[in-house]
């Protein structure tokens, strides 16, 4: 074998604390190494050209690059060696940046460690075999989970690209949080008016199948061939018959049902359609409050329904679909702000969340767009907005910035003045983060044209003053003074966290999530839409805090990724998968039981039972190889011999 070793300086990232030249020279002493050199930027075009040239000039049959983590550039260099005619698996990478130069300052020790890592890579490469991918058929359809604005955008873009879309939404209507908003910043245009047409497009698009009131129960399979079980929750209304006429909601006698769509700011009926522009515009029954379902006595909706759509015996239904790709767009929920006892912990009726305030502002909300106090229905004249409630607060374990609260608070202050011209708004803020296009101009307008009092400081206490008003105690950190504002209504800009249940979904999708439930992207800068599971993409706030423009952009980006994936008719599998050596297999079945992907089956081989790996299902995790008592299953590109060669190199002294 003829091996070439390329040691990367990575500018000064590696060369600053590793003697790259010496490392390259020492590599020449290793067996089979016929060429070694150090390069300034190996991943750059001249660096890659140098590798290709060396492969030709020295007839190299294997290449080692000592540089950064393989996570980013292993695919880059595999393509490089492939261009020069080598098999892409005749390449090894030694990580001397994250594992060496960035973590130690001792030049001599670092250089020694770099030499050893290079030695290990060479030792493994000497045992490598060329591997070849297999091609398999794919199902060209996509599952979009979540029908908020990001999911809607992703679904529409995929559908316009000719891909059949299955859109799953857990609520009875799509629209997500944006459908609950009154106006949007910084243009103050009506949220429902700009989102509504997109929702209608979803309903009418021939390529989109919408399952509202549904959740993903289970996902198996792999990129190109996912099998999805969707649970269609019982709505007790046959949606193929329901016309959305609303007669049932008018006649329903159970009228004291907390209105989830209105953020519990009003009451609704047990059978209801969430809001006038709902898509699908279909009624559903809340079984917790339905008299027929709880006591057995009622049945009025069934009597009045002109299409006989009511079915009290309806059960959850599981349907199975096949898709080639998944876009997760599950959005967010507000964190539980009642941990703030100093703000009343939820016991003061006139201390509400900004999303509740949004419903009060909205013309189709519970008050018909009139701002009133929940406690007594009176119009507030003084309104205090408090930002960063559950954001940027380490004391409750939430150091993250929710990103959009500064802007919607400014918007709500502006709208308050529009609704009640003789009102005065106060905003307690930490910093004003208005980084988007036209954002800072907008907050300045709220302050300068609408006379909103911005007070830089945190609120320490809210308490009812006994005369029907609330006292907000805080500090003005710019004046260095305590401040007290007596007001009629307090609106909390409550911080966000990932949608409740997002972590369960992440486990089903086999993608990672952080401590707040947000899904982890493939790379924080360069792979913001991909996940580390092939074929699963992210859109919207499920990946991290985002405003509407960014959510829409990511929805389109996710759709572009799906369309690019489906531009090929067949996909190639990763050949780094497990293989059974039938001569050693004793058919004990341990590998079958431990495989998390169901990728191993039993088969009869020359009259004997043996384990068999299904190539396209195996994800190459290696659990079976460490479980097999016979050493009969080997993981290609990480065989026992390859790993032991590395260990031997390290342990030879």
């Amino acid at each position: 074998m003829r091996i070439g070793v390329f040691v990367c300086h990575c500018g000064s990232n590696i060369a600053g604390t590793v003697d790259c030249k010496a490392a390259a020279e020492s590599a020449l002493a290793l067996p089979d190494v016929v060429y070694a050199t150090d390069l300034m930027y190996t991943c750059a075009e001249p660096g890659q050209a140098a590798i290709e040239q060396a492969i030709h000039d020295y007839n190299l049959t294997g290449v080692v690059v000592a540089s950064c983590s393989p996570r980013m550039h292993e695919p880059t260099f595999r393509r490089t060696v492939e261009r020069a005619g080598l098999n892409r698996y005749m390449f090894e990478m030694a990580n001397i940046r994250e594992h060496v130069s960035w973590i130690g300052k001792d030049m001599v020790a670092n250089t020694n460690k770099a030499c050893e890592l290079i030695g290990m890579a060479v030792a493994k490469l000497r045992n490598n075999r060329p591997l070849y991918a297999q091609r398999f058929d794919i199902t060209k359809s996509v599952l979009v989970i979540g029908g908020g604005v990001a999911g809607i955008q992703a679904a529409l873009d995929c559908a316009d690209g000719g891909i059949p879309v299955i859109l799953v939404e857990k609520e009875p209507t799509i629209g997500g949080k944006m459908a609950k908003l009154d106006k949007t910043f910084p243009t103050v245009d009506c949220s429902a008016c700009i989102l509504g047409p997109k929702m209608v497009d979803v309903a009418q698009h021939p390529n989109i199948t919408l399952y509202a009131c549904s959740e993903v129960d289970d996902i198996t399979g792999y990129v190109g061939n996912f099998d999805v079980k969707i649970r269609r929750k019982a709505t007790y209304v046959d949606w193929s018959k329901c016309t959305g006429c609303g007669t049932c909601t008018e006649k329903c006698p159970s009228k004291k049902v907390p209105d989830r769509f209105n953020e519990n700011m009003g009451l609704t009926t047990a059978i209801n359609i969430p809001f006038p522009q709902a898509i699908p515009k279909r009624a559903s029954i809340n079984p917790q409050y339905c008299r027929k379902l709880t006591t057995g006595k009622c049945g009025i909706c069934a009597k009045v329904c002109p299409t006989k759509a009511i079915d009290y015996t309806m059960k959850d239904e599981i349907i199975t679909v096949k898709v080639g790709s998944v876009i997760a767009a599950t959005g967010y929920d507000l964190m539980d702000w009642t941990v703030y006892q100093e703000y009343g912990g939820g016991k003061y009726p006139d201390v509400i969340t900004s999303l509740q305030y949004e419903r009060l502002l909205n013309a189709s909300g519970p008050t018909g767009g009139h701002i009133v106090r929940p406690s007594d229905g009176k119009e507030p004249k003084k309104v205090v907005f408090i930002q960063c409630v559950g954001s940027r607060d380490k004391s409750i374990g939430r150091p993250l910035c929710s990103g959009f609260c500064c802007m919607y608070t400014a918007k709500q202050a502006v709208l308050t003045k529009d609704h009640i011209p003789d009102s005065q708004s106060y905003v307690f803020y930490m910093d004003i983060r208005a980084v988007g296009k036209l954002y800072d101009e907008f907050t300045r307008r709220a302050i300068e044209e609408y006379g909103t009092e911005y007070i830089r400081g945190r609120v320490s206490k809210i308490y009812p003053d006994g005369n029907g008003q609330y006292v907000v105690c805080g500090v003005d950190t710019l004046l260095g003074q305590r401040i007290e504002v007596t007001c009629d209504l307090v609106v909390l800009a409550v911080g966000i966290e990932a949608s409740h249940g997002a972590s369960h979904l992440a486990e089903k999708l086999r993608i990672s999530y952080d401590q707040y439930g947000f899904f982890l992207e493939g790379h924080p800068k360069l792979r913001p839409v991909e996940t580390n599971t092939a074929g699963v993409f992210l859109a919207g706030v499920c990946q991290g805090t985002k405003d509407i423009p960014s959510s829409v952009a990511q929805g389109s980006a996710a759709a572009a990724k799906v369309l690019a994936l489906f531009s090929r008719d067949k996909l190639e599998n990763d050949p780094q998968i497990a293989h059974v050596n039938p001569a050693r297999c004793v058919a004990c079945g341990k590998c079958i039981r431990c495989c998390p992907f169901g990728a191993i089956k039993e088969e009869t081989f020359r009259g004997q039972l043996k384990a068999k790996v299904i190539d396209t299902v195996c994800q190459g995790c290696g659990i079976c190889t460490s479980t097999c008592p016979q050493g009969a299953i080997q993981l290609s590109h990480a065989t026992d011999n390859e790993i032991l060669a590395e260990v031997n190199l390290l342990c030879q002294y």
């Binding site: 703030y340 006892q341 100093e342 009343g344 912990g345 016991k347 206490k461 308490y463 009812p464 003053d465 006994g466 005369n467 105690c473």
Partner: protein
């Protein structure tokens, strides 16, 4: 459990009534403790404002004195004393800090110092509702009480161990065990009374105390129940000052929770130090008596 009692300086002077009433309540309940021999001041705010080591040395000495007389837990009525004791214990876990403190002490500190807690928590720990209720001779039912902890009793949360630092509820449960039915959900119960600012910057404590008195008045409280000598002083002794600042006159009795418990247990008013209060508590006492008489009469006049 051998309980050492650490009164703190104010118990022997400005808050003698707190000490008297705490002693009376403990006696009624059968909670036995012995005062720490030759105890010293905890250093209060001045010591720890100048030097953490000095404050810790003063507190460590007290804990060691308690340890010598066999106490495995020290209880004190004063939140400020408790805060200093607990801070000292926490800081002494750092060997470097301990070394510096030992230099100030006559003898090196011991590794395992006694536990420290408040009288209130000790009562709550040792007696359940039923056991407390068994001692009640005059129920507090019908008395409108605004419970007020002050800023220090529940903070810092991880040291003081009072549950939610913004909404502690132990005092309420003790008073409820004494029959109290109308304990107000007092929003300012952990807000600062102004503390020691009464001396360097009187308006500050007047504003802070005034706010508490004003809200209690508006909420139609019969009295404020407190557990801190300094809070009591600011709300009671300085009630007139607070009134002047707020351009009003307050007439709000400010009783230690132990005085209310003592009244419920039928202790003598003198024994509870009620005569030490500035805002006269007579109407509170009268109301308790009247309410109890009314109940007795309703039940058939039996005493």
């Amino acid at each position: 459990m051998n309980i050492g009692y650490y009164p703190g300086c104010s118990a022997k002077g400005s808050s003698l009534d707190y000490e008297l009433s705490s002693a009376a309540v403990c006696r009624e309940l059968g909670l036995v403790s012995s005062e720490i021999t030759d105890w010293n001041c905890c250093g209060s705010t001045p010591a720890h404002a100048i030097s953490s080591e000095l404050s810790a040395a003063l507190c460590t000495r007290n804990l060691m004195q308690a340890s010598k007389q066999g106490a495995d837990v020290v209880m004190t009525p004063c939140p400020s004393c408790l805060s200093n004791l607990l801070h000292a214990k926490e800081r002494m876990k750092n060997p470097e800090f301990r070394k510096r403190v030992d230099e100030l002490l006559d003898e090196p500190s011991k590794e395992d110092l006694p536990e420290a807690t408040s009288v209130m928590q000790m009562i709550g720990r040792m007696y359940n509702t039923g056991q407390i209720a068994a001692h009640v001779k005059m129920s507090l039912a019908g008395l409108r009480i605004a419970p007020y902890y002050g800023c220090l009793m529940s903070r810092p949360a991880d040291l003081m161990n009072f549950g939610d630092p913004e909404n502690p509820t132990l005092m309420e449960s003790l008073l409820a065990a004494c029959g109290a039915t109308d304990i107000l959900d007092f929003p300012l119960k952990t807000e600062c009374c102004g503390a020691a600012s009464g001396i360097p910057h009187r308006p500050l404590s007047s504003v802070n105390s005034g706010r508490i008195l004003e809200l209690a008045t508006r909420m139609e409280a019969d009295c404020i129940a407190v557990c801190c000598p300094l809070c009591q002083m600011n709300l009671d002794l300085r009630q007139k000052q607070a009134g002047r600042q707020a351009k009003t006159r307050f007439d709000m009795p400010v009783l230690y929770y132990t005085q209310l418990m003592g009244l419920a247990f039928g202790c003598d008013e003198k024994e509870l130090g009620l005569d030490k209060l500035i805002a006269r508590p007579d109407k509170v006492v009268d109301k308790i008596k009247a309410l109890n008489t009314a109940v007795r009469e309703a039940q058939g006049g039996k005493a």
